[in-house]
């Protein structure tokens, strides 16, 4: 590919990045822009929609089967599918923010710009076929998120969360970079210069890889595991999720996870030859993540914190798909299952946070279970839709979460990962307890004095987000075949390694 073709191939990223810059410049330069409160948001939304259209219209272009920028970026169907999921999440986040920022009186322009840059980073993480590019895109995503976490400048909890996230994130970035360096060293065998390109690396892996290479991979895993909040690298997640503004939490919980798991799936798919080296480690991490996430979520009284632990647990579920990639038989299904679960997870988590945003008022974020007690009396629709998201997160039919969980069960059995399947079954029982407790609080308890009502600002944006998420969770729970073209795209990742 020439450079122009390469740029053309990553056109969605380019569009998002340019939109972000327009928003940033418009906010600071144009006076009329400031008068209309939601101009930045609308422009961002338009950018996301255009980018999404571009992806949709070019799903079948043969050009996409090549690597862009000399093999640094894979722009194949897998990337396209991840991009679509990420753009959906980004669009929903913008809609949520339209209400939330207005409500809280926060600055507008920077927020959307940062959100769009973070989206760029996440998309590039999905596309990265080179560990260096992966590192750069992780940083692009993370730096934007550090700022977003502390976006409410007067909120002490937000500041603490931002600092914590920044310190731990930088530490993890160090691990990632050091790991990449070790991989570079480990792949320089028989006089060849080392490589960080995944495709080249695959060709060079001997049957028994060197210690340096394996250590490098382990450190890369630590770096990505931190971003994906896998146990034992999950410690930051609850504090940061709780402290960050709710609209940011929703984006952080979904976009980062999608990017991290897409990267993990891509790296692991290149390493099936040495699966026996990394599979036990990943299995242990998966079991640990599932168990810890679910057990810790049980005792939480803060809904955001509970959702943070639940997102840790879901990272464990997703790791099953990653582990199943070790088996060549199950790999196509595993990639599909992983992608489907990412989409499901994105929708239901975004929906749940959107409901919390909907219930937040100017000076009070809706966070604790007292805030939502007896909600069904005052806001029946919000309560019922929250119930849909909780049931979906718990994996109860007929929601999307169930289909995702079923696909995970199925690939786990196909890849002979019985321990993981049994763990998934057991922790699902624990999980359903705390998801049900939310429904129980909302629907069965009497209203407490603190129960919040809907926001005073016209909550159009967040309402649209909730409705889209709920509708998609239910429709795709009944008719998952709608996204079949996207799912089958995952298999072509394997065909075009």
């Amino acid at each position: 590919m020439t450079n122009f073709q390469s740029l053309n191939a990553i056109l969605p990223v380019v569009i998002i990045a340019i939109t972000g810059m327009i928003v940033l410049l418009g906010e600071s330069c144009l006076a009329f822009w400031r008068r209309s409160a939601s101009a930045s948001g609308v422009v961002s939304l338009l950018g996301v929609i255009v980018a999404g259209m571009v992806v949709l219209f070019r799903l079948d272009e043969p050009m996409l089967h090549y690597k862009a920028f000399n093999g640094a970026l894979a722009v194949g169907p897998f990337t396209q599918a991840c991009t679509l999921i990420l753009l959906l999440v980004a669009g929903l986040s913008v809609l949520v923010a339209l209400t939330y920022l207005d409500n809280r009186g926060l600055n507008q322009g920077e927020y959307y710009a940062l959100l769009l840059f973070a989206t760029c980073g996440a998309i590039l993480m999905c596309a990265a076929n080179d560990l260096i590019v992966l590192f750069v895109s992780v940083e692009l995503l993370s730096v934007a998120l550090y700022i977003l976490t502390g976006f409410a400048k007067t909120d002490k909890k937000g500041q603490e969360a931002a600092l914590k996230y920044f310190l731990l994130g930088s530490f993890a970035a160090g691990f990632l970079l050091y790991g990449i360096a070790l991989v570079l060293g480990g792949t320089s065998i028989s006089g060849l210069v080392g490589t960080t390109n995944l495709t080249t690396m695959t060709a060079r892996i001997p049957d028994t890889p060197s210690f340096m290479f394996m250590a490098g991979l382990a450190l890369v895993l630590v770096g990505i595991g931190f971003k994906a909040a896998l146990a034992p690298f999950h410690m930051w997640a609850p504090d940061v999720y709780e402290g960050a503004p709710t609209s940011v939490t929703g984006f952080m919980a979904t976009a980062v996870k999608i990017g991290a798991f897409a990267a993990l799936l891509r790296i692991i798919s290149h390493l099936t030859g040495i699966a026996h080296f990394w599979l036990p480690a990943l299995e242990v991490i998966a079991v640990l993540t599932m168990v810890l996430g679910n057990l810790l979520a049980v005792t939480q009284v803060n809904v955001k914190r509970m959702l943070a632990y639940s997102s840790v647990a879901h990272a464990g579920y997703l790791l099953i798909a990653v582990c199943a990639c070790s088996s060549t038989v199950a790999r196509p299904e595993a990639l599909q299952a992983g992608l489907f679960y990412l989409l499901a997870y994105g929708l239901m988590t975004m929906g749940a946070f959107a409901v919390l945003v909907y219930l937040s008022s100017r000076n009070h974020d809706c966070e604790t279970v007292q805030d939502i007690a007896g909600l069904v009396k005052k806001e029946p629709l919000a309560a019922y839709l929250m119930a849909v998201f909780m049931l979906s997160l718990g994996g109860i039919p007929p929601t999307m979460g169930f289909v995702g969980k079923w696909l995970l069960f199925s690939v786990a059995m196909q890849a002979h990962l019985v321990v993981l399947a049994v763990t998934l079954a057991i922790v699902s029982m624990v999980a359903v307890f705390y998801y049900l407790r939310i429904i129980w609080t909302m629907c069965f308890q009497d209203r407490s004095a603190e129960t919040v009502g809907a926001t005073s600002v016209a909550p159009t944006g967040v309402q649209i987000t909730i409705l889209i998420s709920a509708a998609m969770s239910l429709v795709l729970g009944v008719l998952p075949a709608i996204v079949y073209p996207m799912l089958s795209a995952a298999q072509t990742l394997v065909n075009h390694l």
Partner: protein
């Protein structure tokens, strides 16, 4: 040219969902109370709810009537065989062009259970239609629940089955939790978690089935000729036991059998009255046994059967005793449900066709009289405001019509003859008596203990009735309470009609289930105790039927036409008699011993508690002594197989003439025997029993068929 309408099952599933969505879009009734005499909101909600539920009931009636390949059935896509109205579409992609199918179909069990569900839900919605405050939400949840329950009965794919199985949890959880009694939240979450624990293990088991068999189709997996079945059963034996155990555990929890019953009393009593009625409709556990567990894992289920029988008997006794000890009227009914469901499980795991038929019929009955009791208690609670048995009393003086209706339901629960409970419980006990598995558990004790359960049911139910309805009026404020109004009559009358219809005309209800029962329990799986004299006579008698010598079974007053469908075992030369067990039994009981018949000499049948009736065959009268001993002690081989006339001539010789004729032809259970034992059975049991019946197996007996594997030894 015939018009074919397909998709009736999907229509049946989605109609209530559409109704629920429309309902949720309507305004909440009773919000503008100023003009309360014309509450258009309530009218709209009620008419939409009742209209959709009635529409679904009509569809269910069509299914029931069309099952059998009648003209109606053909129009609705019904074709012969076990499964009718099948629909199959691609649903969830599994990768590599494999699909999870949206596969629906109905067999004999399904059509009956779907009819039951839609019937009771319609009545529950009629019952709800007055309470204006929450009626919109309750009716919508009931419609959603209806869709989920019927989905379970119609699903032919394991994952689809699981989806509906779980989907029932959500509306029930909300029904209990939002509109229930004081401890509703606790009851709701307990119910949810209990069931979810079982069903998530079932999901794991389903994934393993897919792993081993490569198929999720219930039709394929339960067909012993299919590749999927063979692939599944090629798995290690211990794994298969685990998988089958997971399924059984899930269904046992859902059925609320003894150690896993703890959710049931709380859920039943804390739910609102319609919620209790709807909870009773959760027959998915029972249905899972006969649709999934036994057909897919026959050998594993036989291995587990003794455990299940012990648990079932424990449920019967424990449930009965606890029911007798309760202070709250609803708890009595809840614990009586544990006992009744124990009977159903006992009937299924006897692995006899008569037991299973009785179990499925009792399952149906329980789904009618228990909701009737719960809805009646709901009406009572609305009037008196209490469910404490010691505060109630003398209701019959205040509400005479209401208490008469409740008496019907009580008697059905007690299993009094003519009422529906009897035709369900008697075949279960009979099946338990004849079952080899029950015998392997503890001889006659399980059956004897279970039979004690019927006595106990009389104890607690009649006492319950007495404490509520009879005696002095419990409180002065009960005086002047209004008796049943039109809406309540509309709810209770259809149920009362059903109780009598099933009690008297059971063949109408069982006829649809015959093919299903014989498919679930083929000859190779059936397990009848061989050493029992009753078994000997029954098989012997069947052999005579095989010769065409006794061309008609003893005609009861409600015996239907001979069976229409080909014998599923390829048993073509034996006329396949209908399996409507209960009727001949009742008829037999009703006919007194002919005057002048000599007293029977007490042979083993009497000694073991089986009442051998007087002769009822072909006008030969009751003159011959029905000498069972003679049969047992070596009747000449040549006698067997002679014509009835010839036999009776021989037997006229006197009491000591060896004959088996009277015994054989007059047993009340001939119908059952005819259809539940294969031809090879006859050969074996004849060769085995006549020369030396006490010896369980005769090694020299010529076995000319290889289907002997599943018979008990």
């Amino acid at each position: 040219m015939q018009m074919q309408i397909t998709g009736i099952l999907s229509l049946l599933l989605f109609t209530p969902i559409v109704g629920a969505i429309i309902l949720m879009g309507l305004p909440k009734p009773g919000q503008n109370r100023e003009n309360s005499e014309l509450d258009f909101g309530a009218m709209a909600v009620n008419s939409v709810g009742i209209g959709f539920a009635a529409l679904v009931l009509v569809l269910a009636c069509l299914l029931f009537a069309g099952y059998h390949g009648s003209v109606l059935g053909n129009m609705l896509g019904g074709v012969g065989g076990g499964i009718q109205y099948a629909e199959k579409y691609n649903w969830i992609p599994m990768g590599g062009h494999h699909w999870l199918h949206w596969h629906l179909g109905a067999d004999g069990f399904s059509v009956l259970l779907v009819l039951l569900t839609t019937f009771v839900i319609l009545l529950s919605i009629i019952y709800t239609s007055r309470k204006s405050e929450n009626s919109r939400d309750i009716i919508a949840l009931l419609l959603l629940l209806e869709a989920a329950i019927t989905g379970v009965y119609l699903a032919l794919n394991l994952v689809l089955f699981y989806v509906f199985f779980e989907a029932t949890l959500i509306p029930t959880y909300l029904l209990i939790g939002m509109f229930g009694g004081p401890r509703r939240a606790y009851a709701a979450i307990k119910f949810f978690i209990y069931t979810f624990v079982g069903s998530i293990l079932m999901l794991l088991a389903i994934a393993s089935v897919y792993h081993y068999a490569g198929s999720l189709s219930i039709v394929d997996l339960s067909n012993p000729m299919s590749t999927a079945y063979h692939a599944l059963h090629a798995a290690p034996a211990s794994t298969l036991m685990l998988i089958a155990g997971a399924f059984l555990l899930a269904f046992t929890i859902k059925t609320a059998v003894f150690p896993f019953h703890a959710w049931l009393p709380d859920a039943y009593t804390q739910a609102p009255a319609v919620g209790s009625a709807a909870l009773v409709l959760l027959k998915m556990g029972i249905f899972g046994f006969v649709r999934i567990a036994i057909p897919i894992f026959p050998q594993q289920c036989i291995t587990y059967a003794p455990v299940m029988i012990v648990l079932a008997v424990a449920s019967i006794l424990y449930g009965s005793l606890l029911a007798a000890a309760q202070k709250d009227a609803r708890f009595v009914i809840a614990y009586s449900s544990v006992a009744h469901l124990g009977f159903v499980v006992l009937g299924i795991f006897t692995f006899t066709r008569v037991g299973m038929m009785g179990a499925m019929l009792q399952n149906f009955n329980h789904g009618i009289f228990t909701p009737m009791l719960f809805l009646g208690l709901g009406m009572l609670a609305e009037r008196t405001g209490t469910m404490e048995l010691k505060e109630l009393g003398g209701i019959k003086r205040v509400l005479p019509l209401f208490s008469s209706m409740m008496l019907l339901a009580t008697l059905a629960s007690v299993a009094a003859p003519l009422f529906s409970g009897f035709v369900g419980e008697f075949p279960i006990l009979l099946g338990s008596w004849t079952s080899g598995i029950t015998h392997s558990v503890g001889g006659y004790w399980p059956t004897a203990l279970a039979a004690c359960g019927t006595i106990l049911s009389a104890v607690y139910m009649l006492w319950w009735f007495q404490r509520i309805m009879l005696g002095p009026v419990g409180s002065p404020r009960f005086k002047g309470l209004p008796d049943l109004n039109t809406r309540e009559w509309l709810v209770l009358t259809p149920m009362a009609v059903m109780i009598f219809w099933v009690g008297i005309g059971s063949p109408f209800w069982t006829s649809r289930m015959q093919s299903a029962v014989s498919n679930v329990l083929p000859v190779s799986t059936e397990n009848v105790e061989q050493s029992l004299p009753v078994s000997v006579m029954l098989t012997d008698m069947r052999e005579r039927m095989a010769g065409g010598l006794l061309s008609h079974p003893v005609s009861g007053f409600l015996v239907t036409a001979p069976d229409y469908h080909p014998n599923s075992e390829g048993n073509t030369f034996i006329p396949h008699a209908p399996l409507h067990m209960p009727v001949p039994v009742m008829q037999h009981r009703a006919i007194p011993r002919p005057v002048g018949a000599p007293p029977t000499n007490s042979g083993p049948p009497q000694a073991r508690g089986i009442d051998i009736p007087p002769v009822m065959n072909g006008g030969t009268g009751g003159a011959q002594p029905r000498n069972q001993q003679a049969l047992l002690h070596g009747a000449p081989r040549s006698l067997v197989g002679r014509s009835a006339k010839g036999m009776s001539t021989v037997s006229k010789g006197g009491p000591k003439t060896p004959t088996s004729q009277g015994v054989r032809s007059t047993h009340p259970n001939k119908n059952f025997v005819h259809s539940n034992q294969g031809p090879n059975r006859d050969a074996v049991s004849r060769n085995r029993s006549i020369p030396a019946p006490a010896i369980p197996a005769n090694p020299n007996a010529p076995i000319n068929d290889n289907k002997m594997g599943g018979l008990s030894r």
